[in-house]
């Protein structure tokens, strides 16, 4: 067993970290679609939009652990977590399935996706199908040359600026979860209707919207995998997302920890640094412990993915640990900063708002705990 990153991994992490710090030093969370697109181009220029794609498709050919390290560096030095989240979701839940299961025609999208020119949104969730994704109602009828998609997706991150949607629809109603098929749907197709940006509490740099497919004719070349393999493809992409995307939050927690150490060693009350009060220093110790233990679980889950093992329990434990640590640490940071943490300027309240949804997206904490418990034989 070796807990050290290799020299190459350390070098790559440092390189991405420095590049992100330089490019995003002045960047503030923005919601103007044009500015968001420009930020994506900056991320792409560092290679963040295509890290795990093969070189022939414009990527860097990195495995899951190395991709996670890249996203960790992104989250470490870019305070716009919506951007980090949006880029990661584009890469992991959209580009990965297009690369692994797409036809040659669908894979033609990948070069643009790696370059940040073609932005993707993952469209699975529906009003009546959140955790229980097998209940989706969007249908894809037809076969042969084309399918007609009909239905509405209720929460699609990146949708307002997306050029393509990786979506899921029922092709065989009798087959439940294994009657779902996956498609890459270019936005320009007739019948793709993107709603207005959804107002939300955080991750504001990642615009989200509802997406409706109205009599939308999708050529069969855009189907990913075989008919009926959409459920398995979705789960595979979620394994990547639950592993790698959450590394961005490790980066956030590390940045936040440094800010808390800085603040509590500068701030004086009762004639001394507040870090000198054990209630304060132990709070920081716990933040650090949560971060480091979550990091170990996440690295291990990604390492298993690189060994070709989609270990449901390991991935669920990593996802739960990172998301719960991110929420707990953000609450601690608020407390440590006092009133200044509550004001927008310090960026601490934004971190809390950006961390809160982590226990919901990519599979809620309750669903992950259910998987962990059931896998343990309960």
């Amino acid at each position: 067993m070796d807990f050290e990153l290799s020299p190459l991994q350390r070098e790559r992490y440092a390189g991405i970290n420095a590049a992100v710090a330089e490019r995003f030093a002045e960047h503030e969370t923005c919601t103007d679609p044009e500015l968001v697109r420009l930020a994506w181009k900056d991320a792409a220029s560092i290679g963040l939009t295509g890290m795990c794609l093969p070189e022939e498709h414009g990527g860097a050919g990195l495995g899951a652990l190395d991709t996670a390290l890249g996203l960790e560096a992104f989250g470490r030095s870019c305070s716009d977590m919506g951007l980090v989240f949006g880029v990661a979701a584009h890469l992991l839940s959209c580009a990965v399935p297009v690369w692994e299961f797409g036809t040659d025609a669908a894979r033609e999208l990948l070069a643009g996706m790696a370059a940040g020119d073609v932005i993707a949104g993952n469209a699975m969730t529906e009003d009546e199908a959140g955790s229980d994704v097998g209940r989706i109602r969007t249908t894809a009828k037809g076969s042969g040359d084309a399918y007609v998609l009909e239905g509405e997706k209720s929460f699609v991150s990146n949708a307002p600026i997306a050029d393509v949607f990786v979506t899921y629809a029922v092709t065989d109603p009798a087959a439940g979860f294994l009657g779902i098929s996956a498609f890459a749907v270019p936005r320009e197709l007739d019948g793709v209707v993107v709603g207005p940006p959804l107002p939300k509490m955080g991750l504001n740099g990642c615009l989200a919207a509802r997406v409706r497919f109205e009599d939308c004719v999708v050529p069969a070349r855009y189907r990913l995998g075989a008919e009926g393999s959409g459920g398995a493809i979705f789960q595979h992409s979620m394994a990547w997302e639950r592993g790698c995307l959450f590394a961005g939050y490790l980066g956030l927690m590390e940045r936040q920890l440094a800010e808390c150490v800085g603040r509590t060693t500068r701030r004086r009350q009762f004639g001394r640094k507040i870090a000198g009060f054990q209630a304060v220093s132990h709070r920081i110790a716990r933040m650090r412990q949560r971060l480091e233990s979550a990091r170990l679980l996440l690295y291990r889950a990604c390492w298993l993915l690189d060994q070709g093992r989609t270990d449901v329990g390991a991935i669920a434990m990593a996802k739960t640990a990172v998301s719960e640590a991110a929420v707990a640490n953000s609450l601690d940071a608020m407390q440590l900063f006092g009133a200044s943490g509550y004001l927008a300027d310090a960026g601490i309240e934004e971190q809390l708002r950006d961390c809160l949804p982590t226990t919901v997206f990519s599979g809620t904490t309750e669903i992950q705990l259910e998987l962990i418990a059931r896998e343990a034989g309960l």
Binding site: G176, G179, G225, A226, S229, A232, F234, D311, V312, R374
Partner: protein, 90 residues
């Protein structure tokens, strides 16, 4: 692994994990697992994990479809037909 070895293990796993032990003994080898939503998104992930970790069989994604996971018979046939993943250290 032969079909005779695999079938009871898969049957026991499904009964214990998804059907509360199947107290009324309703689960048969031809029970339509997908149609009856025994294999929903969560349970199919757990079943695949069981096949990988306990039976040492990695089901390729292309084989995860309704025909292969329709019932215990089809799953058992699939599993016995797949090459067992070599045990660690072997």
């Amino acid at each position: 692994m032969t079909l005779d070895e695999v079938t009871p293990r898969i049957r026991t796993f499904i009964a214990e994990s998804f059907l509360d032990g199947d107290p009324k003994g309703e689960l048969t080898e031809s029970t339509p697992l997908l149609e009856w939503e025994v294999l929903n998104s969560m349970n199919s992930a757990l079943l695949l994990n069981f096949l990988r970790e306990e039976l040492r069989v990695e089901v390729p994604l292309a084989s995860i479809n309704a025909a292969n996971f329709r019932d215990i018979t089809s799953i058992s046939k699939l599993v016995s037909g797949l090459t067992a993943v070599p045990a660690e250290g072997a």
